[in-house]
């Protein structure tokens, strides 16, 4: 078993956090993992993204030009990453910030989620990332939702643990919509 995913959006959208959560969940399922974030000036003003690889065997390159999956949280990220998804791969797009019409690849599985709107509905605009994570995990089944929930406290700093319930809620909502979508 091997898969990878690139998650991308504005700095501040919590991209790195959902990357971390996925990585912990995969570790929990005894997979080998690598997690590669963007860093440095790239983060300022521009987009932030991270690449996660999950495998049963030793992982070679921790970066890829042809990801199996991509989560796109804003417009610039769609421009950058839509063309890179492997044929047959998976693309999740946050249509709250991205024009759905810009999603043009027909050779891949796509999931359009208005993540910010959903988040706002759930009462916290900042958890759009969790909505997306839920959608991704549900659709790809790369790890179980159970593992995600179990390892969530590891990835989220302790002082924010009071937000765990709302985060779980968002993940579940994302997953639910993915099942429907």
């Amino acid at each position: 078993m091997y898969t990878d995913v690139i998650m991308a959006g504005f700095g501040g959208q919590g991209i790195m956090l959902i990357g971390d959560i996925l990585t912990y969940a995969a570790m929990h399922e005894n997979k080998r993992v690598t997690y590669m974030p963007t860093y440095g000036v790239e983060m300022r003003g521009g987009t932030a993204n991270c690449t996660i690889m999950i495998s049963d065997e030793e992982i070679g390159s921790p970066m890829t030009g042809h990801p199996y999956s991509v989560i796109v949280m804003n417009g610039p990220s769609l421009v950058k990453f839509q063309p890179k998804v492997r044929p047959g791969g998976f693309l999740l797009v946050n249509t709250s910030l991205v024009e759905a019409t810009a999603v043009t690849r027909a050779d891949i599985d796509t999931l359009l989620l208005p993540a910010n709107d959903i988040a706002l509905e759930l009462g916290n605009g900042k958890i759009a990332n969790m909505v997306a994570l839920g959608g991704y995990v549900e659709r790809t089944q790369v790890v179980s939702l159970e593992s995600i929930k179990k390892t969530l406290p590891k990835a989220i700093a302790e002082r924010y643990h009071k937000t765990l319930p709302i985060n779980i809620k968002a993940i579940e909502t994302g997953a639910q919509l993915a099942r429907r979508g």
Binding site: D20, T23, Y24, M27, R32, V33, T34, Y35, M36, P37, Y39, G40, V41, E42, E57, E58, I59, G60, S61, P62, M63, T64, G65, H66
Partner: protein
């Protein structure tokens, strides 16, 4: 044994320094290694250690020199431009035989360059870098675990040989998170340092210096250093050899490039192509013998680097005369993909033996 933790390469390295007994860090911020000073600024004070953000890289390395001269384990970390600024003092430390650790999480060059992963500082690291005849001990990790393990090793080697040691990493190794066990593999060696400058109580005053003006003094000193480097070459080579048996092609790659090669090797295996890998872990001393022996058996050698061909020359000089040597490199933050490496593997296999070193750089 400690549990395996998900940790950033830079953090694993910083934690290794603490576990190796390093209590003195002096450094100046630069991407992509800032996690190192940030971690140490938080954790060293808890260990009664000293963290100083110096006013520059030059001040940093000279503070390292001062602290290390007293016999303490001391280190700094930086990247391209900052490492260039440290060359004078590193030359002094090699000359006065003061051990220390310098970490270079490489960024692109020349100049300010980008911060994408790259391996363009191989020459500078392995050829001394500063002026004069000397070498650094250079270790090239290829995983977060090795960021930890080789940092501990680097302190040991530095002390053992009274020589600066360098960790040569890149942004992937620094920024990537992987599970790693942050615990020493072997107990930390702490050696007596009778040469240290600690104040002349109970002994005659002594000094550490590099100025040799009387006839023949400097030459004698240089030759002594050379003898030391020969011992290091003899005793301290580390490399990973993989699938050499029956391979049609030998790939030589270090650090991040070697990981990409591994992915390409798997892809090749699926196509029935048998590839061997030598991954130099020590870049100085270079695993010349391993490469010579492997290339006696394997007729073709492909060098893969994230630069325009720097380790290449060491492979050329090391490999058996009969071996055909090929090169694939991408400089300036261009990370070769496993697919590209596979193409080069095939190209090398099909090329006639005549080509000695073809620099194929895909833009």
């Amino acid at each position: 044994m400690k549990e395996s933790q998900l940790v950033k390469g830079n953090v694993a390295l910083a934690e290794a320094a603490i576990q190796a007994g390093c209590r003195y860090y002096f450094g100046y911020p630069i991407t992509p290694q800032n996690d190192i000073p940030e971690y140490l600024s938080e954790h060293l004070p808890k260990q009664s250690g000293v963290f100083i953000q110096a006013e520059s890289e030059i001040a940093s390395i000279n503070m390292v020199m001062g602290a290390a001269a007293t016999g303490a384990r001391a280190m700094t970390s930086s990247s391209g431009p900052g490492i260039s600024l440290m060359q004078e003092a590193m030359s002094y430390m090699a000359g006065s035989e003061i051990p220390c650790l310098v970490v270079n999480v490489m960024r692109c060059g020349p100049g300010l360059g980008g911060i994408s992963p790259t391996q363009g500082d191989y020459f500078q690291a392995t050829r001394g870098g500063g002026h004069g005849d000397y070498y650094n001990i250079v270790l090239a990790p290829a995983s977060v675990q090795e960021m930890f393990d080789l940092t501990m090793k680097a302190f040991d080697l530095a002390d053992k040989y009274r020589n600066p040691a360098m960790i040569l990493a890149d942004a992937i190794l620094g920024q990537m998170k992987e599970p790693a066990i942050l615990e020493p593999r072997e107990p930390v060696r702490t050696s007596a340092k009778p040469w240290a400058i600690t104040g002349a109580a109970d002994r005659k005053p002594q000094y550490l210096k590099t100025l040799y003006l009387s006839d023949g003094e400097q030459e004698a000193h240089n030759l002594e250093l050379m003898r030391k480097y020969d011992v290091i070459r003899d005793k301290e080579v580390l490399c990973e050899a993989k699938n050499l048996e029956g391979a049609e092609l030998l790939v030589v790659a270090f650090g991040t490039a070697s990981r990409i090669v591994k992915t390409a090797m798997n892809m090749a295996r699926e196509e029935g192509i048998r590839i061997g890998l030598i991954r130099p872990i020590t870049l100085f001393p270079f695993p010349s013998k391993a490469i010579l022996e492997a290339s006696e058996q394997i007729p073709k050698v492909l060098v893969v680097e994230m630069n325009t061909g720097q380790m290449l020359i060491d492979v050329q000089v090391s490999a058996h005369k009969s071996a055909g040597i090929f090169f694939y490199g991408r400089p300036g933050g261009g990370v070769p993909t496993p697919e590209e490496v596979l193409v080069e593997i095939k190209r090398s296999l099909h090329a006639t033996a005549g080509i000695q070193a073809s620099k194929n750089s895909v833009g």
